[in-house]
Amino acid sequence: MSFVHSSPRVYLGHGLETAGAWLLGALWILPLAYAIWTAFHPGEYSTHFVPTAPLTLDNFGRAWAAAPFARYFLNTMLLCAMILAAQLVLCTLAAYAFARFVFPGRNLLFALVLLQLMVMPDVLIVENYRTMGALGLRDTIVAIALPYMASAFGIFLLRQTFKTVPKELDEAARVEGCTPLQVLWKVYVPLARPVYLAYALVSVSFHWNNFLWPLIITNSVESRPLTVGLQVFSATDQGIDWSIITAATLLTSAPLLIAFLLFQRQFVLSFMRAGIK
């Protein structure tokens, strides 16, 4: 939508708007730009902006050496993949059941699922910690993943999407002789592809970022994800070397930022089409 009028006043207005947008954008990006600046420059420039300051990768090298980042990356990727795979299967089946089948207690069970949306995971940490102990799973990647495998948000989002699929398509597939699982796979899943993409991005982003539960349930390098590993750098006994801290910080979030840079168009479109609202 555009209401362009060509007068000097309008040109001046456009110039001011461009400047304002740059200013707001720059302010918004400043903390991230600062982190990048500090990470790529020697420590003495960490709080001084000198355009001629030399570039260095030393901070990344020192951060990488200060913590077993390779292992943390592997753990985080395994964790995200495990959770997402389980969520896609469990949430799809449950959402299909809620959207298209009538069974006793359906509304009650759906309310139970929705209750999960209202309850912050923190409320359950104490008891889930005990449960993991009873199952002998403490300090494992499986223990971090298990409580999140039946995501209420995923079930709710997919159920809302499946309900918008015309029943005629479902009926036609059944007339063709499809079983319920085939109907799900051939009719519902393809039609919900943008929702799956948006949900996958939200899920990976959330679990890549998750901190509290992994912090409590893990205590070894073999199971810790990146966010918990990053915590090492905020300990005061490490001293405050901001160059290393920001380098470690960027290492932690780099994969998500690069993925966002590469797929931001698809991400935004999926997010909007998915109707997460």
């Binding site: 939508m1 555009s2 207005g13 456009h14 708007e17 461009t18 947008a21 740059w22 707001l24 954008g25 400043l30 903390p31 600046w37 500090t38 960490s46 709080t47 902006f49 299967v89 469990l90 449950a94 299909y96 059941a97 089948f101 069974f103 069970l109 139970l112 949306l117 209202m118 912050m120 923190d122 359950l124 104490v126 008891e127 889930n128 449960t131 409580p147 039946a150 709710f156 809302q160 918008t164 059944r174 970022n209 901190f211 509290l212 966010t227 990053l230 801290i245 920001t246 910080t249 932690t252 979030s253 998500l256 930022l257 993925a259 966002f260 935004v268 997010f271 909007m272 997460i276 609202k277």
Partner: protein, 285 residues
Amino acid sequence: MKSIATRDPIADRWVGLALLAPALAVILVFFVAPLAMSAVVAFRRKDGGLTLEHFAKSFDLYTTDLLFTLAIVLASTILIGLVAIAIAGYLTLGENPRAVAILRWLYRWPLFIPFVVAGQVMRTFLAKNGMLNHVLIGTGLIEPLSAQSLLDWRGIVIAFVWKQAPFVTLLLAGAMASIETQHIEAARNLGARRLRVLIDIILPQVRGTLLVGLVLSFVTMLSVLSVPLMINPNSPTMMTVDVAYRINTFGDYAVANALCLLSLILAAGGAWFYLHHAVEKVEHA
């Protein structure tokens, strides 16, 4: 032809339950049972009797933190709403394509920054000898002696707004883009200014999306530990820090559970609104 309406209801019943069973098992073991146990522990004395003493102790020790948490999250939610309206409004009504493109490209970046990273970045950025003060001193806006640390409630609010505003803006900009343009064009042709169009025509139509985005942000911020832990771990602080402290330092699960249930009450109102809105939307579709 066997239509949906004439499908065998008994078979359907079992198929539905079978489809639901795996998710239900996870929910029962890792959600329902712990939630019930959490409530039981919060209300149980050591000798097994019922008590409110853990809640009384929580209020004794942490009333300030409870109010602090509520104030921080509410203030952040309001600011997130204002920032999101401003950015999404400009993206919709902006007349300068270059400015719109710049803003659209830049505002989304914090979306993929983890809270723990946002906390870490803000911790170094907002400190007394951090980059922000150096920039302000360097540009002559403040004297070196008047530089102050923002690592307190202000730092938490700044980190929350920075991290969450893009999420709400994304939802809001999407909703604004799908509005019929005739009303907007008619108002603009009649001479209405953009701010007026935004407030009188656009916002009322995207109010639901805005509120849902804010509610999701409200609930998310209530459960964040890393940001308050890194920026402002000392009292008064947010309740997530208190919960971690009760568990790690005292092994006091009863008070920790009571604090968690109090957080739950704060979050439940917002979450109920989200569900009510979303379900109503589908039923009316």
